[in-house]
């Protein structure tokens, strides 16, 4: 069978198949598979330069046709009810379904041409209606809420507020900034040194109250070492430091050095 010179554009493999069946004027229920397959393959060859995605769909159909062609050469299969199965049945069903779709498409196209000549308008709500505010239904709004419930809620808020405050610390009262008098501290440490002669640095620190006092004490001790009023010794890293008073040196601590 000759191939038409101009290739029609087919919507898909079923479209082409249907075209071939119609062209051959054969009953859709009795497709001459060999003829149709040959023609189908000839079309695909002629279409070779087309999009691969589209081509693959046509090739699947060609493969299906060849599959049917093969199965028709074999002895007929028998189904559960003992009836002979025609390998073409599935294809026939598919084609019939597709043919219906095409029929409906034509129907829809006609309808589209005849319709759509009505004009609609957009919402046209009078401003009086649009601005209408429904009165609040207070019964529904308040629901089960009553005075007692409101009271409970208020009390639970108060309780929550109390919980937020730490009662122990809040009872300490105000914490004021401590002023450390360096000269007082120096006098104290000098007296301590004279009294104890030889003592542990740690025991001196333990007698200090705040962090600021610790720092000042450390600075005073450093200054005393610098002017040779005391000497220190430490057996190993991080062990206690022993401070010894050097009695013979009576130089006073220069407070300006510590400043």
């Amino acid at each position: 069978m000759a191939i038409p010179v101009t290739l029609e554009v087919f919507e898909g493999p079923l479209d082409l198949l249907l075209y071939l069946i119609e062209k051959n004027k054969v009953d859709i229920y009795d497709i001459p598979i060999v003829t149709i397959t040959d023609q189908y393959m000839a079309y695909i060859k002629a279409m070779e330069d087309r999009d691969m995605n589209i081509m693959s769909e046509f090739l699947v159909m060609a493969a299906t046709l060849i599959d049917i062609k093969c199965r028709m050469l074999l002895p007929k299969e028998v189904n559960e009810e003992g009836e002979e199965e025609d390998p073409r049945d599935e294809l026939v069903q598919k084609l019939l379904e597709y043919k219906m779709v095409r029929f409906l498409s034509v129907e829809l196209k006609d309808r589209q041409l005849e319709s759509g000549f009505n004009l609609y308008h957009k919402k046209n709500i009078p401003p009086e209606v649009a601005s209408h505010e429904e009165p609040i239904d207070y019964d529904a709004l308040i629901g089960d809420l009553n005075l007692a419930a409101l009271n409970d809620i208020f009390q639970s808020i108060l309780k929550r507020q109390e919980d937020k405050i730490d009662p122990v610390r809040s009872s300490f009262g105000n914490i004021e900034k401590e002023e450390i008098d360096i000269s007082l501290k120096a006098t104290y440490i000098e007296a301590y040194t004279r009294e104890h002669k030889r003592f542990s640095f740690r025991s001196l620190l333990e007698k200090q109250g705040s962090k600021a006092e610790l720092i000042v004490t450390f600075l005073v001790v450093l200054e005393m070492i610098r002017i040779g009023k005391v000497t220190i010794e430490q057996k190993e890293n991080f062990s206690d430091i022993i401070i010894t008073n050097n009695d013979d040196n009576n130089e006073r601590i220069d407070l300006a050095q510590i400043g």
């Binding site: 919507e11 898909g12 493999p13 079923l14 051959n24 004027k25 054969v26 009953d27 859709i28 229920y29 009795d30 001459p32 598979i33 060999v34 003829t35 995605n53 589209i54 769909e57 159909m61 062609k69 028709m72 050469l73 598919k94 019939l96 379904e97 597709y98 043919k99 219906m100 779709v101 095409r102 029929f103 409906l104 498409s105 129907e107 829809l108 196209k109 309808r111 589209q112 005849e114 319709s115 759509g116 000549f117 009505n118 004009l119 609609y120 308008h121 957009k122 919402k123 046209n124 709500i125 009078p126 209606v129």
Partner: protein, 189 residues
């Protein structure tokens, strides 16, 4: 509400709303049951069609909408903007007819019937608001189900999806006749 007042109310509401309104919603406003409301609307439709006015009632499944009568289209577009008319390609129309007759239908089913990938056509139809997603099929992968829209009914002048000619009766009948007339070529293997 008496019939006269109900009819006027229906007209007032439909005019103001512009869009289509569900018959059940209209029924609740005029405080009648859906059947009575439907009857009133049918009578209004007839009155509009027979009357000398320029407007009519369009029906979509379970909703109605006021619109101008088609015979005034040519005069109207002299002054009003004409509604867009789309020309749909064959592949888009084919896909649309599958959705129209098989709805709710999945993409896979559409593609099985057409034998080709339908992504483009489906997207185009969604874009034109001719089809919409109806939900998801309770099956592996939860595929989306498509159906036609009110815009579809409007564009194709169909009052309801049920009004479309049913393929099983009409078309199969035609095919059978064709088959009888067609020459049988015995091209057996």
């Amino acid at each position: 509400m008496n019939k006269k007042k109900a009819t006027a109310t229906l007209e007032a509401i439909l005019f103001a709303m512009g869009d289509s309104v569900d018959i059940s919603r209209l029924a609740s406003v005029i405080e009648e049951d859906v059947e009575t409301t439907r009857k009133y609307l049918e009578e209004m439709t007839e009155k509009y069609n027979k009357g000398n006015g320029g407007i009519m009632l369009a029906w979509y499944d379970n909703a109605v909408q006021l619109c101008t009568k088609p015979e005034f289209y040519d005069d109207l577009i002299k002054i009003a903007t004409a509604p867009k008319r789309y020309s749909l390609t064959d592949s888009v129309i084919e896909t649309l007819s599958i959705v129209a007759y098989k709805q709710p239908v999945t993409r896979a089913e559409i593609e099985r019937i057409r034998g080709v990938n339908c992504d483009h056509a489906i997207n185009r139809l969604l874009e034109l608001d001719l089809i919409c997603e109806l939900g998801r099929l309770d099956a592996p992968g939860k595929p989306i189900l498509f159906g036609t829209t009110e815009q579809f009914l409007k564009s194709f002048g169909v009052r309801s999806v049920d009004e479309l000619p049913h393929p099983d009766t009409l078309v199969v009948e035609e095919f059978k006749q064709q088959a009888e007339e067609e020459v049988q070529l015995s091209l057996d293997i």
